[in-house]
């Protein structure tokens, strides 16, 4: 393997391009080979054989947002943990303690959300004035 | 097993708990009764139906707490044309009784019993759908089985075989 640092990433790039090309070829192939005989029923959105009532793009529960937001915050935590994990042996117990402070504070956030009920999907939200 | 003849004399049937109860409450509500093939049928005055049902349901000795069925028979062309039939069941006493209400052929309508037994909801809608009998006070009096825009009521005896065109 060449010494060059970036050369290690070159195959990744090539692989990505190959995968993209493959996906494109599949879509195009299906487009050219597959036949098309559309009918009205085929083209209507699936609604169990009924004419759809109302718009599909209605608003959804805000809980989905909260989940995505929680995800971001824990993802950041995880990303901080990665470099910490690989050098923990060098950081020794001090590194352990500093990360415990960090995790502790983030866990307070989790606990807060837990208590606020954002993790309870079972209860109807809109009527209670909760989340 | 030869069939026993039907008993239709109200005086003879007085001892039946449901009839006794109804007669004690309002003798004009019970028009007639029939005991045939071990089944009791009571003909109720149309305007007293709901009260009679409440009475039978809340009876302490033999509460007819379960509405098995509501249906209708069309005696076209005789009058009164329709008989709406209620099958009641007493779960604690394991007893059945049949209530019948006779209705005239033109614009038949009767009080709903959905407030007595919510179970009547679909049964009454079905009767409305297939016989065209209106249940006044029903929360959602619409066709149940036939399409919304269907013409006529198919289980009526004068309904043409191929439907109305």
């Amino acid at each position: 393997m060449p010494d060059n640092y970036f050369a290690r990433y070159l195959p990744l790039l090539i692989h990505f391009l190959f995968a993209g090309a493959l996906a494109g070829v599949i879509v195009l192939l299906s487009w050219f080979v597959g036949y098309r005989r559309p009918t009205r029923a085929k083209l209507s959105p699936y609604e169990c054989g009924m004419i759809p009532v109302g718009d599909a793009r209605e608003r959804f529960s805000v809980k989905f947002y909260l989940v995505a937001m929680l995800f971001i915050l824990f993802d950041i935590e995880a990303v901080f943990l990665y470099p910490w994990a690989v050098i923990l042996r060098d950081l020794k117990i001090f590194g352990f303690l500093e990360m415990m402070v960090y995790i502790g504070i983030v866990l307070v956030g989790l606990f807060y959300i837990w208590k606020k009920g954002a993790l309870d999907w079972g209860k109807p939200a809109a009527r209670r004035g909760g989340i | 097993m030869p069939l026993a003849p039907a008993v239709t004399d109200l005086q003879q049937l007085k001892t039946h708990p449901a009839i006794a109860k109804l007669l004690a409450w309002n003798s004009s509500a019970v028009l007639a009764a029939k005991f045939d093939r071990e089944e009791m049928t009571i003909y109720i005055e149309r305007s007293w139906l709901r009260e009679a049902c409440v009475l039978l349901r809340d009876d302490t000795d033999c509460p007819f707490n379960f509405l098995s069925d509501v249906t209708c028979v069309d005696w076209f062309p005789s009058e009164p044309r329709f008989e709406v039939v209620y099958q009641l069941l007493s779960i604690p006493k394991k007893e059945r009784v049949r209530l019948k209400v006779r209705l005239e052929g033109s614009a038949p309508a009767i009080d709903t019993v959905t407030s007595v037994w919510p179970a009547a909801n679909y049964f009454e809608r079905e009767v409305f759908d297939l016989f065209g009998i209106r249940f006044t006070g029903h929360p959602y009096m619409r066709r149940l089985l036939m399409p919304e825009d269907w013409e006529g009521h198919p289980l009526r005896k004068d309904y043409p075989v191929e439907g109305y065109r």
Partner: protein
């Protein structure tokens, strides 16, 4: 060999695009997206300078910028949701009343 200035120009272009988006866009979500674009432009110059001066601190800053961006996105989008719930619009021109 790419001169540092190339990176800085790219970074500047991205930042400028962000500013333009911030100014011309009316949808509040797109405005937020433009802000993220600006942050990305800044990040690029951080990394480029880090490479230039052989100081990895620049890369660490990118970390912190990302955390800030994430926190900003979380809170900002929550504000957008709250706003949308009361005003039923995402157009910033319509959100001109301080009070309902």
């Amino acid at each position: 060999m790419v001169p540092l200035s190339y990176y800085l120009i790219l970074s500047g272009v991205l930042f400028a695009c962000g500013v333009v988006g911030f100014l011309i866009k009316r949808n509040i979500i797109t405005i937020f997206i433009s802000i993220e674009l600006m942050l990305n432009g800044v990040n690029l110059s951080f990394v480029a300078f880090a490479a230039q001066w052989h100081a990895l601190s620049g890369q660490v800053f990118v970390f912190f910028v990302m955390v800030v961006a994430a926190a900003e996105a979380a809170v900002g989008l929550a504000i957008i949701i709250a706003l949308y719930r009361t005003r039923d619009t995402l157009n910033v021109d319509r959100v001109n009343l301080l009070k309902l």
